[in-house]
């Protein structure tokens, strides 16, 4: 179920990237796309009835039914990459704002 909405969320992000002209809004759209993608990746690893992939004193053997741990590891990576890119994009946004006095890409004149 969640999977459908994850894809929809990615599409919303793409829609934002296509329509928005504001630097901050573009970065927000990029983040929405990434959230959708991350939820989708986790949903690919979900097993109905599975438990979280951590051995504890209750779930103490590897013979139980676990959800797929690999997509979770990938999403950890993906989230951290996302924050790196967002930080860099915001640094660009601030430089653009200092240079042109606006966040709107259309109002930025010259090279």
């Amino acid at each position: 179920m969640i999977q459908y909405f994850a894809i929809a969320l990615m599409l919303v992000g793409v829609y934002g990237l296509l329509t928005q002209k504001n630097v901050i809004k573009l970065i927000v759209s990029l983040n929405i796309f990434e959230v959708g993608l991350n939820v989708f990746i986790i949903s690919v690893g979900y097993v109905s009835g599975g438990i979280a992939p951590i051995l504890t004193s209750q779930n103490n053997t590897s013979a139980l039914l676990y959800v797929d741990p690999l997509p979770q590891a990938l999403v950890l990576t993906s989230i951290v990459i996302g924050v790196g890119v967002t930080a860099l994009a915001l640094a660009f946004a601030r430089r653009l704002h200092n240079q042109y006095g606006t966040y709107n890409l259309d109002e930025m004149e010259g090279e």
Binding site: I2, Y4, Y15, G16, N22, V28, I42, A52
Partner: protein
């Protein structure tokens, strides 16, 4: 439909609606706060899908730090006066 299915449905719809509103919001700060809320819902989705590690990380980074960075970019003395 079990209770879980209904929860997932509501969660999914809320996420998409938040996404659409965040993209189309007039004020930039509204977008940012809605993005933070969206991340929080994603955390719930991660918990439902049995991914506690990811949920913790997303809660701290996605809805905490990233929002902080956005706010620092938007709310500084220099940008005052413009509709944030």
């Amino acid at each position: 439909m079990s209770l879980m299915d209904i929860l997932e449905l509501v969660l999914g719809i809320a996420m998409v609606v938040l996404g659409v509103v965040a993209v189309n919001a007039k004020k930039k700060i509204t977008s940012v706060i809605l993005l933070s809320a969206l991340s929080m819902l994603a955390v719930v989705a991660f918990v439902i899908m049995r991914a506690p590690d990811v949920a913790i990380t997303e809660a701290v980074i996605g809805s905490g730090l990233v929002t902080g960075l956005f706010v620092f970019t938007l709310f500084t003395k220099k940008n005052e006066g413009e509709d944030a």
